[in-house]
Amino acid sequence: MIFIELFFTFLKIGIFTFGGGLGMVALIQNEVVVKHHWMTLAEFTDIFAISQMTPGPVGINVATYAGYTAVLHAGYSPAWAVVGSLLASVAVILLPALLMVAVLRFLSAHRENRDVRNVMSALSLVVVGIVAAAALVLVGESSFGVVGYNRRFITSVCIFIAVVVLSMMPKKLTTTFGGRQFSLSRPSPIVLIVLSGAVGLLVYGW
């Protein structure tokens, strides 16, 4: 039964997510694409892009969208897919919220616990690797096309480099040229996603 499976899958995703929405990407990918085959890697990438462009916590957006798509792909009607999406969101919220309440109740006693601190610093190291893995997993034909001298691959690499450069630039860049001052502020992820979509439209046609 897909609904029970969905609920327990997102329960697991919620409690093992460290490092926010980005830490969740590799986890959801592993569960939803690799284990359960609820969607393709390309679809998953698109979901993440849309989740970053709409308001609200990215983790909730991804869970809602992924839940909807998974149920739809299992052959249910869109109405059931809405049920699935709500189920996935509730599941993602549930365990971390209970844990937070428990921690707040006993916080004073455990605040300076050495074991907790050691576990946390080990986790913070590993989360860096988990986010890196999320990026590496998405590097492939579904994102970049077939490697070689073709329009798709070259365009994809150019977009990738442009986004890396633009999102690593200083918050505000000011230069004087010909006595006039020009300034460029770092574009937000949503602007970069919209621009990349526009490039796709221009290059691949409509």
Binding site: G14, T17, S85, I190, G205
Partner: protein, 174 residues
Amino acid sequence: MLSLFVSFFKIGTFTIGGGYAMIPLMQREIVERRQWLDEKSFMEQISLSQAMPGVFAVNMATAIGYRQKGLWGAVSAVLGAVAVPIVIILLFAVVFNTFRDNVVVEHIFMGIRPAVVALIAVPVFNMARVAHVDWRNCWIPIVAALLIWLFDVSPVWVILAAAACGFIYGRAAE
């Protein structure tokens, strides 16, 4: 209770990009406007919410709701934070699943996908700095990434192994 809902409704609805993009608005609502927390405990709450598993914004809502009004306070703050985002993303899900096979939509996403990879890759370096990754411990994130990427190991096992190792290493170092 209603004010918890309204405040987190604002925070959830008017921030795009999630998590850390929400901090400035949270600060204005929680510290300056409602004065639920002072500056120092707000900062402490942020680091606690980051360290805990789950979605950062939901962790913040749970904690502040619970501190103010107990369990139902937590529930109304979380509902406020996720209500509008869930409705909007559902609309997107319905629309995009309908037009999935549309050639134009596919072309737009062919442009977006490499950008998504870049947007996930770039924060890795910032996170590495915050986590104090250096040449002695850099093998830990590298091994974690390779296990997940090349061998499809679930991040769940990586997290559990790291937690166990951190615990044992800490005890052994004493």
